[in-house]
């Protein structure tokens, strides 16, 4: 079946996503394997090489695909993500939006209807057109607070079992009611049924519904009916085989964290936190499908160093992209908050210290070496060498002579999320209590909401444009500070309530760029309104933007994008 070989034109933008975190997988009749991952929907060829990775750029309802469904003839694929459901049909090159919804966690094709499990309930739509939408809400405990997420469906004689983060429910076509039977934990990951048995995998273990029996204590995330029993994918205990009659057994498997299972014919796929594995035949060896992209889609920082792009992730470490290849850098704490290039050195602000990477060697500085705190939020290179680092308890200068805590000389011991060296050599410290300008021997100057310079005291980013200072904040958008003849500062507040991400401001190409939680924005000199660049990155929460050689790299919590010189986001 060649359905999923979409036409590929020379892209205006390149997406770089990680396909390691697998949500769902489904082998196809032609030997290919579909894998829904946090980095898009992957099609693996029979050789388990990725033939295509679809992201939001291709019309998917979010790059992080949580659920897939395939028609019996393989002609149609539905994909559910953060913002709804899209469909791809034979002959089409681009995904089409079928239904909008939040946090789609499960899909089930029921004749000509598509059941969509979402945030707070179940939607039923026409599987071809998306029309005739019916909504079935799950009750909430109270008016304010989280709505339950639907995680799975299973077809049983008594109706459709709906697994949710608040227990097990039954949909009989007209409404939702709590399913009979006790589960070990209210958070149901998966529900599956075969014959008279219905199993529910929860955070607390696996239960057989209807018999009130806990079958296993493992945290079961995926279930697959096999001959004589079930295959269970668990978080922490790999694959396990549950016989209909007989004890539970471990199945040799390369990964301990199995999040998805699927089968077609004699091909079985298993999704894990380390990618997709495929086995042909009941006793074939598990083979690892190649994982592409950075170590994680949650990119927290970028830095360009010539042809090399450094990529810091939220909790999967540091990587370098160079010459079309990704390389993970070891010796750096996996929680990267910020990056700065200083000559031949890369400085990495992490949750457990400030790391220097030079050639292949990494050195870590902690509080013991003089930093105000181990949790380093931000780092910026200094023109005279060394860096300025912002930590959870103030800022410090790190230079050849060692670490000098600025707190000891009067700088605030506040959580410092943004740091920068001004054109005149003064040091700018963005904290949760406003912006400070620090000069040795001079009085500390504070700019805040109360002083009329900012719209939010939590400063997340600082950038300079000539003598003006652009200040990004968590909840107050961007402000621009200029200084009058008598050094009195005035402010020209920027756009609305945008949440500017740490180190999310940049000035280039005659524009100020802001990486915000709602997307990428920019403002050109002379313009009054900020422009919103929809679709600049695989995810909406844009975390960084850098440029070099004409290309613009845009990072988000759902992967990276590179826009070539001829195109602009």
């Amino acid at each position: 079946m060649t359905l999923l070989l979409a036409l590929v034109l020379a892209p205006a933008v390149e997406a770089f996503t990680s396909t390691a975190d697998v949500r769902a997988c489904r082998p196809l009749a032609d030997g290919r394997v579909l894998a829904a991952t946090a980095g898009g929907l992957v099609v693996y060829g029979p050789d388990l090489e990725p033939e295509r990775v679809w992201t939001s750029f291709d019309g998917l309802p979010g790059t992080d695909v949580k659920a897939i469904e395939v028609s019996a003839d393989g002609a149609t694929v539905w994909a559910g993500g953060e913002y709804g459901v899209s469909v791809l049909r034979l002959g089409e090159s681009r995904w089409k939006e079928l239904a909008t919804a939040r946090s789609v966690g499960a899909l089930l094709l029921d004749e000509d209807r598509l059941l969509i499990g979402t945030d707070g309930g179940l939607d039923v739509v026409d599987a071809r057109t998306g029309a005739g939408r019916q909504r079935f809400d799950l009750p909430r405990d109270h008016a304010r607070g989280p709505r339950p997420l639907v995680t799975s469906f299973a077809r049983t004689p008594g109706g459709i079992q709906v697994g949710t983060s608040r227990g097990l429910w039954t949909w009989d076509g007209s409404g939702m009611r709590p399913a009979a039977g006790v589960v070990p934990s209210p958070y149901v990951h998966v529900v599956a049924s075969a014959g008279s048995r219905t199993l529910a995998g929860t955070v607390g273990g696996l239960a057989e519904i209807g018999r009130g029996r806990v079958v296993a204590t493992a945290e079961v995330r995926a279930l697959l009916r096999i001959e004589g029993g079930w295959l269970a994918g668990t978080m922490g205990e790999g694959l396990r085989r549950l016989a209909d009659a007989g004890p539970e057994q471990a199945v040799p498997f390369p990964s301990r964290y199995v999040t998805a299972l699927g089968r077609h014919g004699d091909t079985t796929c298993a999704g894990t936190t380390e990618g997709t594995f495929v086995r042909r035949g009941a006793d074939g060896a598990w083979r690892h499908a190649r994982v592409t992209g950075p170590p994680s889609n949650d990119v927290s920082a970028l830095a360009l160093d010539g042809e090399r792009l450094w990529v810091g992730t939220f909790d999967r470490g540091l990587a370098a992209y160079e010459g079309g290849r990704w390389r993970v850098v070891s010796g750096v704490d996996e929680r990267v908050n910020g990056l700065a290039v200083e000559g031949a050195r890369l400085w990495v602000a992490t949750a457990r210290g400030l790391v220097t990477v030079e050639r292949e060697t990494s050195t870590v500085r902690h509080e013991a070496e003089g930093l105000p705190a181990d949790d380093v939020h931000a780092v910026a290179a200094l023109r005279g060498g060394g860096v300025l680092a912002g930590t959870a308890r103030g800022a410090a200068l790190v230079r050849a002579g060692g670490v000098e805590s600025l707190v000891k000389t009067g700088a605030p011991a506040e959580a410092t999320w943004a740091v920068a060296e001004g054109p005149d050599g003064s040091l700018w410290l963005g904290t949760t209590n406003g912006l400070y300008r620090y000069r040795a021997g001079a009085a500390l100057v504070r700019f805040s909401v109360a002083s009329g310079h900012l719209r939010d005291n939590w400063v997340t980013s600082i950038a300079f444009e000539g003598a003006a200072v652009w200040v990004g904040t968590y909840a107050g958008g961007v402000s621009r500070l200029t200084f009058g003849a008598r050094n009195a500062a005035s402010a020209d507040p920027g756009p609305g309530d945008a949440h500017v991400n740490p180190a999310g401001l940049g000035v280039f190409d005659g524009r100020v760029w802001a990486a915000t939680m709602s997307g990428l924005m920019s403002l050109a000199r002379g313009e009054e309104a900020w422009r919103i660049h929809a679709g600049a990155a695989p995810g909406r929460d844009v975390t960084a933007v850098v440029t070099a050689g004409g290309s613009v790299w845009v990072a988000s919590r759902d992967g990276l994008a590179r826009w070539p010189a001829a195109f602009r986001p």
Partner: protein, 777 residues
């Protein structure tokens, strides 16, 4: 055995004057303030809040004092706190500009230098120093007019073991006047809440039987393992004392007549009376008072008669305690007295010391004094009755232990009465001399030094071992009348220890001070274990920046970390401590064993993350992001721990997303005692928000009133300056502003209130330049 046979039953028959308050004051601090005119008075203690946590055989008690300055003046004062018996001071916090700031333990000279350096500044730091014995002194400034001042003391103390009731938590209330408000909470449960409480009393709360500590307790830290052992000799291996013919007793009473004995004088006189009443016509006695000289009622032993005893009491009452205390002089005097006796009379000689045991003149080292006693009084029993709060029990205990004498530390009339009941039986008690506990090499045992163990003694030692290497056994050695004694003590099985680190630290510091160790060694031990010594002090500065500026490292992080409430733990080993979400990148820390097979965290938005073990923290961690569109409410995270044994533990962690900004009402008035100065006050306005119940109470709506989550209030003044108001108490902020020129027209202020989640609200308020005068309370 030469013991002290004292018939103290007589005490019950004679009228005894009430014990002076000073002799029993403990557990309650006092703040004496000095006014500008030089007058001094004690500030009213408006409220006393006691919060205790029991663990093992000890408790940590947090005592919050709220004093009231009724004057219109800014005062300065001295706060004194007498620690209860055997308590170890571990923390101090003081209110600085409306915020509670924790003190830090610092080398004393450095603390004094820092204090002096910034004492002339806008804010004074606070310095808590050891005032001798068990009294601690804290200089306090400023004490704002018509305002409250809060001081918090934390200490660790052992539980009391009552022979009939078992284990008890005891809190002594020794104040000069009745308390205006008193609240006591034990293990989170309010046990006493009163608007009035007697000045001198004692609260004793029974510890449930299922929480009674075992003889062996253990506590692990990152650096070491501590084991506390109640030493119980096998008395069947110790021969009973022979039924000796009663010989004539020669009792020499050494009465400490120094200045430090003044406080305990009434109790000392009662104890002297008890000692004299224990004698009969066959006995002789002699009373010698000493400070830096010795004064005697008689220059020889006199036969006991009622008249002689009365004359001795008159002599004692005539003394005026003053001067330093030279214990070495007293020992040498006792040695001369002993040398003047015939050998037969010397066998019946008993020396009884009455005083606080704090030598301040001559030889002061514990070990040196013990050596002197051995030299001057070979074979003579030295009994000690330690009195007063300023006492140093360590020296006296060492002296008595080395000579086979009895050590007592009566605090109340009941204690003296009990002493009276036991002393007649002392001669019939089995005794183990030179008792000491020996541990394998590499392990430290404190208190060290030999002691005399009587059959009814309750003795505990604490062993410090390398981490994870607690000894399975210890050895108790000593001497009996039959010769050497040796007993193996099993220590493999232990229950959770009660605050063993500071208790071991207190012993370590006492041992170093007793041996007159180098000051640096004492300081090092004091800082290592977080307990005060003569060479360290608690220092409170105005802000964390100030601590950093003076390079004073904080032992405990002042910034809270994410955690949550453990609500459904099915096990007892792993749990999450309660806390709130900090903005930024919240981090979940799970204290599960390093060898757990897996620790996973499932978030309410559908993500499951695998936690990683961090050896430096001894915990598993995972961090996550809260989406900007997340509605306000309480959310739950599931933590699943699969232990190495296969056992599964499921925990639930709650965190709150709060985007509701605080609202404050702002007013001002003239500041009392400050010329042309406004006192600006911002009071948080209560807001109501719907509450998310923890567990499915579907259909039930609840509302919470948010009163006190504001953390900062900034005010922009007309001159452009920004004033940060200080937190006086939850929900109330204050600050002072003195305009350069008197105001004539109404003034508009911009006020920004920020809460713990960094939500902020900006408002503008216009105020009358001529507000009312300061209101009286």
């Amino acid at each position: 055995m030469k013991g002290m046979v004292v018939v103290l039953l007589a005490l019950a028959l004679q009228p005894v004057s009430p014990l002076a308050p000073e002799a029993t004051s403990a557990g309650v601090g006092r703040l004496d303030a000095d006014a500008a005119d030089g007058s001094s008075h004690t500030l009213e203690l408006r409220r006393l809040s006691v919060d205790a946590t029991v663990r093992g055989d000890a408790a940590e008690t947090r005592v919050e004092h709220v004093f009231w300055n009724p004057t219109e003046e800014v005062l300065q004062g001295t706060f004194r706190f007498p620690l209860p018996d055997e308590a170890v001071l571990v923390g101090l916090a003081m209110e600085v500009e409306g915020r509670m700031v924790d003190g830090e333990l610092v080398e004393r000279e450095k603390a004094q230098r820092v204090y002096e350096q910034i004492v002339d500044g806008m804010r004074d730091p606070a310095l808590l120093e050891w005032d001798g014995g068990s009294v601690f002194k804290l200089r306090v400034f400023p004490i704002e007019p018509m305002a409250e001042k809060r001081v918090v003391i934390r200490y660790v103390s052992p539980l009391r073991r009552d022979p009939r009731k078992g284990w008890q938590y005891v809190y002594p209330v020794g104040a000069s006047t009745d308390l205006g408000g008193f609240r006591l909470t034990l293990d989170g449960e309010v046990r006493w809440d009163a608007t009035s409480f007697p000045a001198r009393s004692e609260i004793a709360l029974d510890v449930p039987r299922d929480r009674w500590p075992s003889p062996v307790q253990r506590e692990e830290t990152d650096e070491a393992t501590y084991t506390a052992v109640r030493v119980r000799p096998d008395w069947t291996l110790v021969p009973p004392p022979p039924d000796a013919v009663r010989t004539r007793r020669h009792v020499l009473v050494l009465l400490d007549d120094s200045r430090s004995a003044l406080e305990s004088r009434p109790l000392a006189l009662q104890a002297l009376q008890v000692i004299l009443d224990s004698l009969d016509g066959r006995d002789r006695f002699r009373v010698s008072a000493f400070d830096i000289t010795v004064r005697e009622q008689t220059d020889a032993f006199v036969p006991f008669t009622r008249e002689a005893a009365a004359q001795a009491m008159d002599f004692a009452r005539s003394l005026e305690p003053d001067g330093a205390s030279d214990l070495s002089l007293a020992l040498r005097h006792a040695g001369r007295v002993a040398a003047a006796l015939s050998p037969a009379d010397r066998t019946g000689l008993e020396v009884v010391y009455l005083g606080d045991g704090s030598p301040t003149w001559g030889e002061t080292g514990r070990d040196a004094l013990v050596a002197l006693a051995a030299q001057e009084l070979p074979g003579v029993v030295f009994h000690s009755i330690a009195l007063g709060r300023g006492g140093d029990a360590g020296v006296l205990r060492a002296l008595s232990g080395a000579t086979g004498g009895r050590f007592e530390q009566p605090r109340r009339l009941q204690d003296v009465t009990r002493l009276a009941a036991t002393l007649p039986h002392v001669r019939r008690l089995r005794v183990l001399r030179d008792a000491r506990v020996v541990a394998p090499e590499g392990h430290g045992v404190l208190p060290d030094g030999a002691r005399t163990l009587f059959e009814d003694d309750d003795w505990q030692v604490i062993v410090r071992s390398p981490k994870g290497a607690a000894p399975d056994t210890l050895v108790l050695e000593g001497r009996t009348a039959l010769g050497p004694f040796r007993q193996v003590l099993e220590t493999r099985t232990a229950t959770e220890g009660g605050f063993l680190v500071p208790r071991y630290g207190a012993h370590a510091v006492a041992a170093l001070e007793g041996a007159l160790a180098e000051r640096d060694d004492v300081v090092r031990a004091s800082l290592q274990y977080g307990v005060m010594s003569r060479h360290t002090a608690f220092l409170v500065l105005e802000s964390e920046e100030a601590f950093a500026r003076f390079q004073i490292r904080r032992r405990e992080a002042q910034e809270t970390r994410v955690s949550g409430g453990d609500l459904e733990s099915t096990g007892e080993e792993a749990s999450l401590s309660p806390d709130r979400i900090q903005p930024g990148d919240p981090e979940v820390r799970i204290p599960a064993p390093a060898d757990a097979r897996a620790v996973t965290v499932t978030f309410p938005f559908g993500e499951t993350k695998v936690a990683r073990y961090e050896p430096a923290l001894g915990a598993w961690t995972v961090r996550f992001l809260i989406d900007q569109d997340t509605p306000d409410g309480v959310y739950h995270v599931y933590v699943r721990i699969t232990h190495a044994s296969g056992r599964v533990e499921l925990l639930r962690l709650a965190y709150t997303v709060d985007t509701e900004a605080p609202a404050v009402a702002v007013s001002w008035r003239w500041a009392a005692g400050r010329s042309r100065t406004y006192l600006i006050e911002a009071r948080q306005i209560a807001t109501e928000v719907p509450l998310s119940p923890v567990d499915g109470a579907a259909g039930e709506s609840r509302v919470a009133t948010i009163l006190e989550d504001a953390r900062r209030v900034d005010v922009r003044l007309p001159d452009g300056e920004v004033l940060s108001l200080g937190l006086t108490r939850p929900g109330l902020f204050r600050g002072y502003w003195r305009p350069r020129r008197p105001l004539q027209a109404p003034v508009t202020l911009t006020v920004v209130a920020t809460d713990r989640a960094l939500n902020s609200r900006t408002a503008r308020v216009t105020l009358d330049p001529h507000p009312p005068a300061a209101a009286s309370r």
